[in-house]
Amino acid sequence: MSTQADPMNTRIEGPSPAMAVAVDMAKRSLWLLPVIVVLSAAFWGVNGVASTLYALAIVVINFLLAGWLLAVTGRISAALMGAAALFGFLLRLGLIFLAVFAVKDASWVEFVPLGITLILTHLVLLFWEMRHVSASFAFPGVNPGVTPNPYLPDN
């Protein structure tokens, strides 16, 4: 049985799952760090490592910004959260463009590792988090909460 849907007046109370997921992915990116540093150093040298780290920072900040936007606007109304998700997408694409454009002439930039890292770390972190989330949905009692997260409710 469903209640009357009013997205304008529905507020998302309590801790923000979106921010929790974003923080979780930021923590998981630390596990990826040595792997991508070694790989980019092997193929592209020091410049490749710098570009890879820059790309990883872009991906993590992008996730955190997305989660923060949803958390803040969700406390106001669900409809505003929808608007923030859509315009946030455009905003974040613009910010990623500016972040890459700002360093395009820098001596340390290698665009191939930067691009590969942007795509691969984004997807790897997402699939990793998706497995964690689907496992915790399927077996809520087994979810150990391995990484302390201030955005998750206390169990």
Binding site: A66, L86, F111, I119
Partner: protein, 98 residues
């Protein structure tokens, strides 16, 4: 003899102009291709995110008690959809800057 030299110099100069024009045309087409790749790659995810978020907001408004689960899956869905736009962006930077 000097007429032949002048003619050869003229031909060389013309060849240089043609080469410069070809380079400019190549860079213009690369720039417009890159821009189109980026723009087109952002349209699909925009539609996808709009649909996804619309349905998720409806679900949260209908059943606020399940807002946590809906929001989590919505966030992951947004990020997956956004990966398509990121791929378009990477194609853009590779075409434009490499």
């Amino acid at each position: 003899m000097s007429a032949i030299t002048n003619a050869a110099a003229t031909v060389l100069a013309q060849a240089e102009v043609v080469e410069q024009t070809a380079d400019e045309a190549k860079s213009i087409s690369a720039a417009s291709g890159a821009g189109m790749a980026y723009g087109l790659a952002a349209i699909g995810p925009g539609i996808g995110i709009g649909y996804l978020v619309g349905q998720a907001v409806q679900a949260m408004a209908r059943q606020p008690e399940s807002a946590g689960q809906v929001q989590t899956t919505m966030f992951l869905g947004i990020a997956f959809t956004e990966a398509l736009a990121l791929i378009g962006f990477v194609v853009f930077i590779l075409l434009k800057f490499v």
